[in-house]
């Protein structure tokens, strides 16, 4: 089967533009030419493409106004070096690593300050001093009271009871045991 006969119209239409521009390889151009000789429709399309191309070429060439050129030169005077576009992956990895380091550091600081005991203020120390003195004063108060009771007990046991007993004996009266001891000290 011949290649010329095989070329369908849609393929031929796709090749028209590069053909008009002279960009097709010779073999392909020969095939297309063979198809165009037998296909009126595609040959009409080729004629249209050539007419459009010639009309575009006949348009006048416009020059850029000099003031615009001057402005572009003054603003874009610096030569911008070409930098190849980076892929996003390394930047993202670096950002994630930095974030991790910051998070760990921040977390460590947060925990550190949470655990740090707060230094009491001068007022709190003065308050604590007052409370310590109060505790001692309370012990003093209790021991004063208890000391008095002990002394009373000692007096009752050593002086009052013997005296009562001797007076009762001399009077021939049965003595009654005094009230139980008020305090005891082991």
């Amino acid at each position: 089967m011949n290649r010329i006969e095989d070329m369908p119209c849609d393929e031929a239409l796709d090749l028209l533009e590069p053909y008009v521009d002279g960009d097709l390889p010779t073999a392909v151009a020969d095939c297309l030419r063979a198809h165009l000789e037998t296909c009126r429709s595609c040959a009409g399309e080729l004629a249209l493409a050539r007419r459009i191309q010639s009309e575009l070429r006949s348009l006048p060439q416009l020059d850029c106004p000099p003031e615009i050129l001057e402005r572009v030169r003054s603003q874009g005077g610096e030569v911008v070096p070409f930098r190849p576009r980076r892929t996003g992956l390394p930047l993202r990895i670096a950002a994630a690593a930095a974030m991790l380091v910051l998070s760990l550091g921040g977390g460590a600081l947060f925990v550190h300050f949470q655990q740090q005991p707060r230094q009491p203020s001068a007022a709190e120390i003065a308050q604590a001093t007052q409370e310590a003195r109060y505790a001692l004063a309370y012990i003093g108060k209790v021991s004063r009271r208890a000391g008095l009771d002990v002394r009373d007990d000692v007096l009752a046991r050593r002086l009052v009871r013997p005296a009562t007993r001797s007076v009762s004996l001399s009077l021939g009266v049965a003595t009654q045991e005094p009230a139980p001891v008020r305090g005891e000290q082991p």
């Binding site: 977390g107 308050q127 310590a132 003195r133 109060y134 505790a135 309370y138 009271r145 305090g183």
Partner: protein
């Protein structure tokens, strides 16, 4: 989209890092309690919200107190410097049935005796009771606990732990007066 993901990721990482660090083994915050320490809160002698005075001082603040009064009152400073804790609870008994409190005082006395505390003084008179208990370790007094119960007036428990010289505490206590100290405005004491 990325604007919301990155801060969110940072927050998640921050919280995760904080949680991990918080779980990490840390230095013990509090030393083991002194053998002369009595956990008043555990004994639950008095209702906490009805105390007329409460003192809870521990090692660090006691050392600061000792340093603060060193020049002005050297005896008090040296006594406080050797203490590990001072705890006081005073509960007013005026106008209330003191029976329940008396029962709790008796229970506290048993609690102390069960744990090797020795009675230094027991005074019972006209319904009033006072107990002074000492705790010894290796021939040294390491704890002093005073329990007092005065119906119609107040009940109190005082626990002091550390290196204790009862004579020194007695001397200092005799020189101080509760009434004078009560006139000075204080945070926790009296409420």
């Amino acid at each position: 989209m990325r604007k919301t993901i990155i801060p969110g990721l940072a927050l998640v990482l921050f919280l995760a890092a904080s949680a991990l660090l918080a779980q990490a083994p840390q230095k013990p915050q509090k030393p083991a309690p002194s053998p002369g320490f009595v956990p008043l809160a555990e004994l639950n002698l008095f209702p906490q919200d009805k105390l007329s005075a409460e003192v809870n001082l521990e090692g660090a603040i006691l050392r600061l107190v000792a340093a603060a009064v060193k020049q002005e009152d050297p005896a008090f400073s040296s006594m406080v410097a050797s203490l590990r804790s001072i705890n006081v609870q005073v509960f007013p008994l005026a106008g209330i049935d003191a029976g329940a409190v008396k029962t709790k005082i008796d229970r506290a006395v048993h609690w102390l005796e069960d744990r090797g505390w020795k009675a230094n003084l027991r005074v019972k008179e006209k319904g009033e009771e006072t107990y002074i208990y000492l705790k010894e370790q290796d021939g040294q007094i390491v704890g002093l606990t005073v329990l007092t119960f005065q119906p119609g007036d107040e009940a109190a428990v005082i626990n002091i732990s550390g290196r204790i010289d009862p004579a020194q505490i007695g001397r200092l206590g005799q020189s101080l007066h509760v009434q004078q100290l009560e006139r000075v405005p204080a945070g926790k004491k009296p409420h």
